[in-house]
């Protein structure tokens, strides 16, 4: 196999490095020590003083590859941002459908090219707005959706063929997908022309974000049903967004984020292929979601390694033949957990650097966090500035003019291959220990995430992990003087009024018949839950009607917390 350098050249280069360490470096260190005895990435991978061609000499040249060609290390598409920039997709959600619809239209007017929806906690967890568990939470951290009527208000006046709609929702994702389908059909759209994404990644919920309703098996089955339904009926729609973001935000290292996400991928692909569907029938629409953390080069290496690992897994493990099944596409969001309250304006700088790593890492869409998100959900002003950050990177910085500009950097290439090696090591361990689902049940992932979170807290405390304004350059006299997003106290009342109107106006007998059908479908493991759910939302079922009825069939999940 041809390498970038032959053995003799590598040996000569290594000799030169040794001599440099012995002479220049040693003499310099005698006068001034380095800042610390050893250097590591945020993810605890050792970092050398300098990288040379010798560090990448063992990497097969085909692993570097070219953009749009297997193994896609350098990017999923052959022209990347030279054709079109990533989708600038700021997430929004608060109040009722109408309230969030106004924010969507504001963002579109500001140049945003896709929309992304945050739901309130009751919607995420499957409670209607008038359920006692919903008190105080209706429309607070996201938009409240109980019925199809809410969805119609949310997407009113938005052309679904032009604007892709992403929905960040998991245990109840299939109901939102059903509402989206019902709405699209009512408006006369061709489902195969609509693009968008539902997150629907339930396994990372048990691992990290902790929004779950049912036990793992029926929950994964619902995900399977979304994937197969979309493969057959919505050719351009991403039925799942396999997410590392929340794993990272729960405290995992970047390496754990990458490896655990791919462990979830392996579980989903296994589940869908078990129905007899071929991998190439659905894999081209699998999408991913990662965080961009603070360690810029490590993040770029992470994204590049993820693309390479995914390509190899899909080809070698699952026998994919279509290159589109091997091409990892991802949404990215800057790291909310890095935002600080003290000197909150510094968050703009943090977010800019994190966004840059996402772009240098080749993301397909990006959300940049608002500077005020350590206080509350973001204001319009914070979102405008966050969007402008992306626009500056895209249109002023010049980094988008060539593809994968860090490709060929000795450091980034070496770190990319190191990430690949370590990711496969973790995936092998997951296989050896019985697979993703079993290890979730044992708390194996959860414990590792909690360990790294605790380690990070201690490192911040000791100052080993610098956080500007928090453990360095602290301004004791600080007054925030920040205007945060207000919560409209009439939200719950307005929302509940509509839900109750839908309940009054629907045909109860038809609803009951459909709910019986839902139970039958739920009990038949081989059936697909999507069609009956679409009929239900059209018939005026609330999210709570559907979720509660299925709790009686499947029961609920309660985790045994490990820390």
């Amino acid at each position: 196999m041809s390498r970038l350098l032959d053995e003799r050249e590598v040996a000569a280069l290594q000799e030169a490095v040794r001599s440099w360490e012995e002479n220049e470096v040693k003499a310099f260190l005698a006068r001034q020590a380095e800042r610390r005895p050893e250097f590591f990435t945020t993810g605890d991978i050792p970092v050398k003083r300098v990288y040379t061609a010798a560090d990448v000499a063992d990497i097969p040249p085909e692993d570097f590859g070219l953009p749009g060609r297997y193994p896609f290390t350098r990017g999923p598409y052959p022209t990347m941002y030279r054709s079109r920039f990533w989708t600038m997709r700021q997430i929004a959600g608060f109040g009722t459908g109408e309230d969030t619809n106004r924010r969507f239209k504001f963002l579109i007017a500001q140049g945003q090219t896709g929309i992304s929806t945050d739901f309130d906690m009751p919607t995420l967890m499957g409670y209607d707005s008038d359920h006692p568990m919903s008190e105080g939470e209706v429309g607070r951290e996201g938009v409240a959706i109980d019925t199809l009527a809410d969805m119609e208000a949310l997407l009113d006046g938005i052309d679904l063929e032009k604007i892709s709609v992403s929905m960040t929702i998991n245990p109840t994702a299939w109901i939102l997908l059903a509402m989206y389908v019902a709405l699209a059909q009512r408006r006369g759209y061709d489902l195969n022309r609509l693009s968008g994404t539902i997150q629907a990644d339930i396994l990372k919920e048990y691992m990290a974000q902790k929004e779950f309703i049912y036990p793992i098996a029926p929950s994964v089955r619902i995900v399977r049903d979304c994937i197969t339904y979309c493969a057959r009926n919505m050719k351009r729609y991403n039925p799942i967004n396999i997410s590392g973001y929340h794993i990272s935000e729960a405290g995992a290292s970047p390496l754990q984020e990458a490896a655990f996400t791919l462990a979830n991928l392996v579980a989903y692909v296994g589940e869908v292929t078990a129905t007899g569907m071929q991998v190439d029938e659905f894999a081209p629409r699998l999408a991913f979601f990662f965080v961009s953390q603070a360690d810029l080069f490590e993040e770029v290496a992470k994204f590049r390694a993820l693309r390479r690992c995914y390509a190899k897994i899909m080809k070698e493990r699952f026998g994919a033949r279509n290159p589109e099944s091997m091409r990892l596409r991802f949404h990215c969001q800057t790291a909310a957990a890095t935002l600080t309250k003290p000197q909150f304006q510094v968050n703009i700088v943090r977010t800019t650097l994190q966004a840059l790593s996402a772009v240098l890492g080749g993301c397909q869409s990006l959300h940049t966090n608002g500077y005020d998100e350590a206080f509350a959900i973001p204001t319009e002003d914070a979102m405008r500035l966050a969007l402008r950050t992306q626009q500056v990177i895209a249109e002023e910085s010049g980094v988008t003019n060539t593809i994968d500009p860090l490709g060929g950097s000795y450091y980034v290439e070496a770190l990319t291959s190191e990430y690949e090696r370590r990711i496969f090591e973790i995936l092998d361990e997951v296989d050896r220990r019985g697979g993703t689902v079993r290890l979730i049940e044992e708390g194996w992932f959860q414990k590792q995430i909690a360990d790294f979170a605790y380690e990070t807290a201690l490192r911040k405390q000791s100052g080993e992990k610098p956080v500007i304004g928090v453990n360095r350059y602290v301004d004791g006299a600080e007054r925030h003087g920040i205007e945060t997003h207000p919560y409209d106290p009439t939200t719950a009342e307005r929302q509940i009024a509509r839900t109750q109107r839908v309940r009054r106006e629907r045909d109860r007998a038809r609803l009951d018949a459909l709910l019986e059908q839902l139970v039958a479908v739920a009990r038949d493991e081989s059936a697909n839950i999507m069609p009956v759910t679409i009929d239900l939302v059209k018939a005026g079922a609330t999210m709570g009607d559907i979720v509660e009825r299925l709790k009686r069939v499947w029961g609920t999940y309660r985790e045994n917390p490990v820390f």
């Binding site: 729960a250 979170a453 605790y454 917390p561």
Partner: protein
């Protein structure tokens, strides 16, 4: 002091599942020698107060990142009062605007420990609060 470790019940109330912070706190307090019970996720104020009273803890710590602090804490304080346990020290953790933190202090929440509070500071705060309250 060594014979009588501080007893703490930590809880997540409401629907949000963000448990990174509460688990870090649980571990820091445990490592500092306190008795720590963590209820897990999605608890109601009633469940949490019942557990705290039954376990006869010194400190009840409630973590929230869903913005419902102004609904949850008044109810917890009221329930504690009804059960004659209003000498229990209530501590809030999570993400919230400054004005809410000030309002919670006003109504009797003993400390608001937000994101990025160093673990040692949390340990010290709890020790100080328990000491200041004195023997029950």
């Amino acid at each position: 002091m060594a014979t009588n470790p501080i007893r703490v019940l930590l809880a997540k109330v409401g629907l949000d599942g963000h448990d990174r912070g509460v688990k870090v706190v649980a571990r820091a307090l445990r490592d500092a020698g306190m008795d720590v019970i963590y209820t897990g996720l999605h608890r109601s104020p009633e469940e949490v107060v019942t557990a705290a009273v039954q376990e006869d803890v010194d400190v009840l710590g409630v973590s929230l990142l869903s913005g419902v602090q102004m609904t949850v804490f008044p109810r917890i304080l009221k329930l504690l009062k009804e059960r004659g346990a209003d000498d229990m020290i209530v501590v809030a953790g999570g993400v919230m605007p400054d004005e809410d933190a000030a309002a919670l202090r006003e109504m009797g929440v003993a400390a608001i420990l937000l994101q990025d509070t160093p673990p040692q500071e949390i340990v010290d705060t709890l020790r100080r609060l328990v000491e200041a309250r004195g023997e029950r």
